[in-house]
Amino acid sequence: MSTTAASNRHPIRLTVNGEVHEREVEPRLLLSDFLRHDLRLTGTHVGCEHGVCGACTILLDGAAVRSCLMFAVQSHDHEIETVEGLGTAEALHPLQEAFRDTHALQCGFCTPGFLMSLVPFLAEHDDPSEEEIRHALGGNLCRCTGYQNIVEAVRLACRRQRQGDAHGLGEGAVPGEMS
């Protein structure tokens, strides 16, 4: 069967980091490419493009998923959070602060994916064991750090969360709690 490129575009309407976007997309456009190229949200990184590395992880209606394993057209009517929605340079998200404080990144390519995978984990875990933390990190690859300091960052973020101290908690968007 044949369809012209022009007729093979679908209107979509979605919320990204609290902002509503309306676009027309070709069905084969991956959500990762839509975020990066159409919305210019280049914080979502693309490493392997087949689900293995986790660099492209975003939140879809509050749940961490691979944006390279979804088509943009499927995000119609859904809410998406990317790393850009987490915090700002002035007011980092507690996870970002913990990553900075423990040197949990070197080149930083993998970091957005780790952060987005960890947001729901932190919401559900107050005091995780090292094994739980390592399992939570299992779906994200880092070529630089050797993971040790990433585990450390999660521990620190959890400790600060337990203590509810002033390290930026409550600032920045808390995904899953947006209207």
Binding site: H10, P27, T57, L60, V65, C68, M70, V73
Partner: protein, 290 residues
């Protein structure tokens, strides 16, 4: 690494899906969680002309109790099955297996039925649903069928779901009283596809095995039932030396595992033997505690 162009449909009812499948036949594929299908499209190993998205179809994602067990809708997310108290209570073997499938980010999107319809020989669910005596409800162009697990998995990536059919749901029957169960696998990293995995259900009467169901993954063209091992268990009193003998039968007679860059044939046999012995003793202990 971009998928080839295709025409996209997002139907809302099963009837619409069936019409599209009839209309486009072999040129069309259904899209469930996309966690296996989209990578194969990105690699251009699959270039369907038409993609029928199941994510908006009503009535495919349920998870409910029936008289004799559970009915799990094909579009039920793997993460939902993993976290369901109902599954933990009525199908504990399934609950125990779910965390071994990929990573949370994949299970958030990947579906129960998608994994079974895909029938990757390295996937956990085909082996586990086989030992649980699961049944598959398939919608055909004419009517519907319930297919037993033994008849469902045909070969490499091939099941009783034909190109114009749709898997609707899976029935997981309750275990018989006095049953023990276990699942174990070995992979290099949590979340990677396993080098070998073993699922087992044993029905015991006192110390004697009335019925055994044993299946392995990653050792053949689909879930591999270990019929010789099962026969060696049935009618016998359970004891350490028997379990060891059965593990050897399974590893050396029931399976003929492949060699690849991840593991040699001998190493897979070794893993199969160790994992069979361990799952059998765990199942015996659980049956005794029941």
């Amino acid at each position: 690494m971009k998928p080839a162009p295709f025409v996209y449909f997002a139907p809302q009812t099963v009837d619409e899906v069936m019409d599209l499948l009839r209309q486009y036949g072999d040129d069309a594929k259904v899209l469930a969680g996309g966690q296996s299908f989209i990578p194969t499209m990105s690699f251009r190993l699959a270039q369907p002309e038409v993609v029928i998205d199941l994510n908006g179809v009503e009535g495919l994602a349920g998870l409910r109790e029936v008289d004799n067990g559970l009915h799990i809708g094909t579009m039920c997310r793997q993460r939902t099955v993993e976290r369901s108290p109902l599954v933990a209570r009525r199908a504990p073997l399934l609950a125990e297996t779910m965390p071994s499938i990929a990573h949370p980010q994949i299970r958030n999107r990947g579906t129960f039925g998608g994994s079974l319809a895909h029938a990757d020989p390295a996937s956990e669910l085909p082996a586990v649903v086989s030992v649980l005596n699961g049944r598959f409800r398939i919608r055909r162009q004419r009517g519907e069928d319930w297919v037993a697990a033994d008849d469902f998995f045909i070969s490499l990536f091939e099941t009783a779901v034909g190109p114009e059919d749709l898997l609707l749901e899976v029935e997981i029957p309750d275990l018989a009283p006095g049953s023990g169960w276990a699942f174990q696998e070995f992979s290099r990293r949590q979340g990677d596809f396993a080098l070998v995995g073993v699922a087992v259900v044993l029905e015991l009467e006192g110390h004697v095995c009335r019925q055994a169901r044993l299946a392995l993954l990653s050792v053949g063209e689909g879930p591999v039932r270990a019929h010789l091992g099962e026969a060696a268990l049935e009618g016998q009193p359970m004891g350490a030396s028997l379990l060891q003998r059965v593990a050897e039968i399974v590893a050396h007679q029931d399976i003929d595992p492949p060699a690849d860059i991840h593991a040699s044939k001998d190493y897979r046999r070794h893993l199969a033997e160790v994992l069979t012995r361990r799952t059998l003793s765990q199942a015996v202990a659980r049956a005794a505690a029941d």
